[in-house]
């Protein structure tokens, strides 16, 4: 049986992309898989009794060493902010390429805590900062210092001791450019070093809380129970900075989605599913209910999505337990078709993610296809004709061409870069100033404008000739030729319309990171948790791959 890949015009809609969930393809899970046989160590732990100072953690294999350098600083409560406008954080981190010398640590001590206004070097690979969940951190310190384990209900509500507020890589602030390291096999997957940083930061938070508790009361203090540690992750506050990324990296986006779609296609094409694989799938679906029922958010929008997901997942469990036989041919195809007919988008994508669990032999080869050398596709094939370009647009952007951009609500918003923080923002075009400095992220509108212009041109005109007097369309012409080859490279939706929910774009990216429990704080930023339930670094050599579905929180 040959199953077609799903239609980009369905999958690349924002509401669908905003329903994606983590899976075996997610970067934090593929990171753990890649680094499970590396040697982990804590190389330096020089904190004072209050937990301020430096620490270094590393992963090593052969001659290759990656070292997380941590700086924990005292800040005032009023200085603590998750917003990108903050200038001080409880802790700041960088992932150093190799073993940092004393000079390196001194240099980094002056730069890393400054984050965006500091300067890093090509020897550093990623940069981040994090703030304590003061409520949880202090509670854990107090409990441990008194010889008790902390209140699990409080921990479950928050899920972490620290949350990062940005993780930078790929040449930002002087960090190493991607081209310097791209041939390393162990990082042949997107955001692998960012994942390493976050993972090691998680361990630092446990070590720091134990250290502070011990110094508070050396006689009675106990260490945080390992199982409790495992059920804590690292929080992350994420704003609009992530949204333009997926528009600005079309072939990378394609490779992420194409890997997911290829995995689904191959799983649907399995004729006979082995009992153990069916059992693993059903087990993960059932156990994942804990992730949904423990999903805390104040956002009404997300609460409704969770309610609907929970209701639909229960309906699905009832279906597979009472009306479905995995011994039938092509059972996952039948499951998928049933999902399309009977449950919401969020539930479809949730189950699609879980379908991947039994199939390492399908997923692992796809993981290595999830990076992209985007420069290879940058040049425009200018010898092609206007007629060819027109046909590409008609075929690849059919729903975009139906949008009426003469209506005010179709172009209600505009994307811009804030002068204060050099971060992306979204504002109402008709109520705020600045739309003349709009970023080129209104792809749907610009593609439609281009199409209307092409209709007026001679069909055999070359793109070179067209561009010589229409350079304002160059950015979307480039994209149209990219989407011709990469079907999932474009969001098939209006990114400036009145009804846009920007967190759909964030959720798409975060689901590929491997985030759990999206907690929108508004329609433009959200909090998530990463690595909650993940094995600790000392357990990596032999861990349960389905840990995601077995957290206690």
């Amino acid at each position: 049986m040959n199953i077609e890949l799903r239609d980009p015009n369905t999958i690349m809609k924002l509401s669908r992309l905003g329903s994606f969930h983590q899976s075996k393809l997610s970067f934090l899970r593929s990171f753990l898989n890649e680094f499970k046989d590396w040697d982990y160590s804590r190389d330096l732990f020089n904190l004072d009794k209050n937990g301020y100072g430096e620490a270094v953690y590393s992963f090593k294999k052969g001659k290759r060493v990656y070292s997380l350098v941590c700086f924990a600083n005292q800040i005032k409560d009023e200085e603590r902010s998750d917003r990108v406008i903050a200038t001080k954080w409880d802790a700041a981190f960088t992932l150093h390429d190799g073993v940092p010398s004393k000079d390196d640590i001194e240099r980094l001590k002056n730069e890393v805590p400054k984050q965006e206004v500091g300067r890093l070097s090509f020897k550093e690979l990623t940069l981040s900062r994090a703030n304590k969940s003061v409520r949880v951190f202090n509670h854990v310190v107090d409990s441990l210092s008194e010889g008790k384990q902390p209140d699990l209900e409080l921990l479950s509500k928050v899920g972490y001791l620290y949350r990062t507020t940005a993780v930078y890589g790929s040449g930002k602030f002087g960090l190493a450019d991607r081209f310097r390291i791209k041939n390393r096999e162990e990082i042949n997957g997107p955001f692998r070093l960012e994942m390493m940083l976050v993972y090691l930061v998680r361990q630092f938070t446990f070590d720091q809380v134990n250290h502070v508790a011990h110094h508070k009361n050396p006689k009675t203090a106990v260490k945080l129970d390992k199982q409790i540690c495992k059920n804590l992750g690292i929080g992350n506050s994420t704003g609009l900075g992530m949204a333009p990324f997926i528009v600005n990296h079309p072939t990378l986006l394609n490779n992420w989605i194409l890997s997911r779609e290829t995995a689904l296609k191959k799983i649907r094409e399995i004729k006979n599913v082995q009992d153990k694989d069916a059992e693993l799938f059903i087990d993960c679906v059932k156990k994942s209910l804990t992730n949904i029922t423990s999903w805390n958010t104040d956002s009404e929008y997300q609460q409704n999505k969770i309610k609907s997901l929970l209701k639909n997942i229960r309906k699905f469990i009832d279906y597979i337990e009472n009306s479905f036989d995995f011994k039938a041919e092509y059972p996952f195809n039948k499951v998928y078709l049933w999902l399309e007919q009977n449950v919401c988008e969020e539930c479809i994508e949730y189950v699609v993610s879980i379908m991947m669990e039994p199939y390492n032999h399908i997923i692992e080869p796809l993981v290595s296809n999830m990076s992209s050398d985007e420069d290879k596709y940058f040049n425009i094939p200018t010898n092609r004709t206007v007629n060819e370009l027109k046909k590409i647009i008609e075929k690849k952007y059919p729903n975009i061409l139906d949008i009426n951009f003469d209506q005010k609500e179709s172009q209600q918003n505009f994307w811009f870069i804030s002068k204060n923080k050099e971060e992306p923002r979204l504002a109402d075009r008709f109520e705020e100033h600045g739309s003349e400095l709009e970023q080129p992220l209104a792809i749907a509108r610009d593609i439609k404008k281009l199409y209307e212009k092409l209709l007026l041109e001679k069909e055999n005109l070359t793109i070179a000739q067209f561009l010589s007097s229409n350079s304002e369309f160059r950015h979307v012409i480039r994209r149209a030729f990219i989407v011709e080859k990469f079907p999932y490279s474009e969001i098939q939706d209006n990114t400036i319309g009145k009804d846009i929910i920007p967190i759909d774009m964030l959720r798409l990216k975060l689901s590929f990171f491997g985030a759990l429990k999206f907690d929108p704080r508004s329609d433009k930023w959200l909090r998530i948790c990463m690595f909650q339930g993940a094995p600790l670094p000392t357990e990596l050599k032999n861990y349960d791959e389905q840990w995601v579905y077995k957290t206690n929180n």
């Binding site: 420069d375 350079s471 304002e472 160059r474």
Partner: protein
């Protein structure tokens, strides 16, 4: 040290700010990044050009011919470079392409370097008395090493170099003969057994 990623982003934004379209600004970012990677002063020259641009008029050349002479002070190196990139399939048929007066020719070079990669041919450039070889966007060879590339070039001549060997057949044969000394003369038994197919592989 600024990373190439920072260079590309800052150049793209600055180019948009001085009035280029977003698509053209992306091209400029990519080209200046490449220049800096090759050790040429892309940022310095682009900065100067954008300052000059606010007070002087430069001509945009959108269609490239074999001989191109500007009626103004100089051609804009950016529009010229982008036009060259876009029209590479037609301009590579010209034996020689001549330009009179290009401002900040090093900026133009960055586009020519990328054009060399697209065309699959090395490009030889003469900027007044100086010679430059653009090598498939892998590197740029020039005799400018100890001096800045001038801010203005009066006579510019461009030639696509045919893909041909830089050595004679006899030089190749001489070297190949040496390489053969690493091969083993096959005995009858080696002929029969070493390749696995036996002495005859006909049906």
């Amino acid at each position: 040290m600024r990373s190439l990623s920072e260079i590309e982003t800052a150049v793209k934004r600055a180019s948009r700010a001085v009035g280029y379209s977003w698509g053209n600004s992306e091209e400029i970012g990519k080209s200046i990044r490449q220049l800096e990677l090759f050790g040429f002063q892309g940022i310095k020259n682009l900065n100067k050009y954008y300052k000059d641009k606010s007070t002087k008029k430069f001509e945009d050349l959108n269609i490239i011919n074999e001989i191109n002479e500007t009626s103004s002070d100089a051609y804009c190196p950016i529009i010229l470079g982008i036009s060259f990139l876009d029209q590479i399939k037609s301009v590579e048929n010209f034996k020689t392409i001549k330009f009179k007066k290009i401002a900040y020719p090093v900026i133009f070079l960055s586009f020519l370097s990328r054009a060399s990669e697209i065309s699959g041919n090395k490009i030889h450039v003469r900027l007044d008395q100086n010679e430059i070889l653009l090598n498939l966007n892998v590197n740029i060879c020039s005799n400018f090493l100890d001096q800045d590339i001038p801010e203005f070039a009066n006579e510019i001549e461009i030639k696509f170099i045919d893909n041909k060997d830089s050595f004679t057949e006899s030089e190749w044969n001489s070297l190949y003969k040496l390489a053969e000394d690493t091969f083993v003369e096959e005995s009858d038994s080696l002929k029969e057994g070493a390749a696995g197919a036996g002495l005859t592989d006909n049906d």
